[in-house]
Symmetry: D3
Subunit: 147 residues, 6 copies
């Protein structure tokens, strides 16, 4: 009996090409929580600064988290936020010159940035048991590949 | 000039209490991709098995990913999936007996499980540039705390 | 007094060359345990699927585990199993195009895959205190280097 | 359709108990390589010192490597070596006071210590393509559990 | 021949006790660099916010970095900065209730916070080849142990 | 409202160039501690061997510790020590052929090597509450860049 199963796709033959990917996603929060963030009054500290650092660091950890992802020499990362009335949008742009794309890296950056926002405001959102808190609409918005 | 900023909340005084948290979330995929998963024909291998292992391992990495999370002695983790026509639901249950809850751990388990599904079926979804692929509705569905 | 001691070998002058390495190894298990694995009845879940994912992920962690190993841009990994009456053989193939070979990566992949099998069937093997369980004959079976 | 699959076993109900485990294993090397190690002439530096540190550090990383292992508060680790004519024996003892045993930790410590020896003497063993180099007989030699 | 060498000290018999440690250290920078930091004009972004997050995260990684350190259930971390005319002081306070102290954790938090400041202002300090940039006077300033 | 904040500098356009950096630093210890180290009598084991391995491994972890550092293909690392009457000097040389320099890697290697020395002799230095123990004068001593 013989088991094949999963494998990390062989990219040995691919060429090093400049690649870029932008992903985005949202976290829905209570209006009061949004105000606390805007006014910089969250007890655990500056919510978006921490989320930004966490997102950038997570991009570099993608290959450890997603089992079949290749280790990739990341050459640039941006994580930015836009604050709305009852939600925050996180955007993550990742760059590399390598044999495979960086979609998973950008998506992971967005996910961890949003999870970190949740963690930073947990005490305000958990009063009603996170009834409305959620992370949603994480997607790829742009992919660039330049030969 | 003096900078205070963020801190990891002090839980030294809290008691060790049994705690459990269930989180869930979804990934929207093309119907054809869902069929490929169901029939076990994905080129990279068994999608949900890999996603399940990735989700469980990510729970143990939460304290490394989310900057202000405490390291927590996790005592049990389940990650499960339900497959629908054009989406997959991931559920993650985490248990501990410790001074703080495991919401962030359960949410991280769900997020990484869903990101892994995306990675495993990337080649099918990227044909139309991930136009409809997205991760959504990640939330806490149950929290238990027993003194 | 002056201490020199160990160092990470300098490979700066070496050229990027396609390299491949296959390693293999065995775990000896009780026949009943082998049957439980084959029938997919292990309480902790699908033994070989988990071991496969673990082996692939470990390949990417080699440079963190083996102190003098260089970080290497891995371009492909396979971990496969062959089941015998009272043992399982794990094979790990690793590919890269880089300045140094991937023997340690392939050997680490095999080792962690076998350790994971052990962990997954611990409850069956520990009844007689692991009297016969052992991991053995981990070796390099092929090395390719193409200029 | 519903996927259950693997899980990290729930140890929430178990009591904190003193536990200890000793594992051992061997690496077969050429006699000349053994002499180089004994005389401290290996080009990469002191083989067994590096292997010892690597083994101890690997014990602390077990929960990251073996997917279903629990994070465990390790309270003591020893890694020791015995040098024979054409082989080296590594022994790893791990201690904890926790809800589950440390077999996997001791086995992982042994495995990584042996892999590190291999890495440190690679240049001597690869001359004949690692024809005889192998890691073998990794097993649990003692388990203690004190209430 | 038998090798003993290093070991991770056995703390199995020790009691869980509340412990706290404060460490501090300095980085010397050019006055112009200090002004850039104060005015929030550093090109890479908010220097001290990033250094603070890095220091807190490093505390949790101490057991991975310092080979003989035990994994410790950290219950609280603060990293703070005081800005002087030509230097910045970093202070790190770490808390736990465990069998061993947290000096190494506090010292590691300070070190990584200071290294991160260096990295964030590298472009200003490297103009004269880091002639005056240095990290100094990292020490323990307080240790508390309450039975 | 829009948050930009920190980013990982974009090095996509930079060329792969051979780069080398040497950093150094000191730890001040009691004369008796220095003697214990020299005579190889430290209870936890060979202080400098462990510190050397820790420093080399830390170089490879720099991108995980310093948030905005790029992952870099390190091609060589040396960590060495010089022992004085009441202090030890650590020197770390790092090499790469890549788009950005390795100052942070060399500085991190020095820092972790010195922290490890501290950890290894903690029991001798803590008698007077680390009154004189300190890490100081960590700096870059040479940077080479060859086109």
């Amino acid at each position: 009996m013989y088991e094949k199963g999963v494998r990390m796709v062989d990219i040995s033959e691919k060429k090093d090409v400049y690649r870029e990917c932008i992903a985005e996603g949202y976290i829905k929060l209570k209006k009061e929580t949004i105000n606390i963030i805007k006014e910089g009054k969250a007890k655990k500290g500056d919510v978006l600064k921490v989320a930004q650092v966490a997102g950038i660091m997570a991009v570099k950890k993608t290959f450890e988290l997603i089992p079949m992802c290749h280790p990739i020499p990341i050459t640039g990362v941006n994580v930015e936020f836009e604050i709305f009335e009852d939600k925050i949008k996180a955007t993550c742009k990742v760059k590399t010159t390598y044999k495979t794309g960086v979609e998973m890296e950008a998506l992971t950056g967005v996910s961890v940035a949003l999870l970190t926002i949740w963690d930073m405001v947990k005490s305000y959102e958990k009063l009603d048991n996170y009834k409305e808190t959620r992370i949603y609409d994480i997607k790829v918005v742009e992919k660039i590949k330049k030969d």
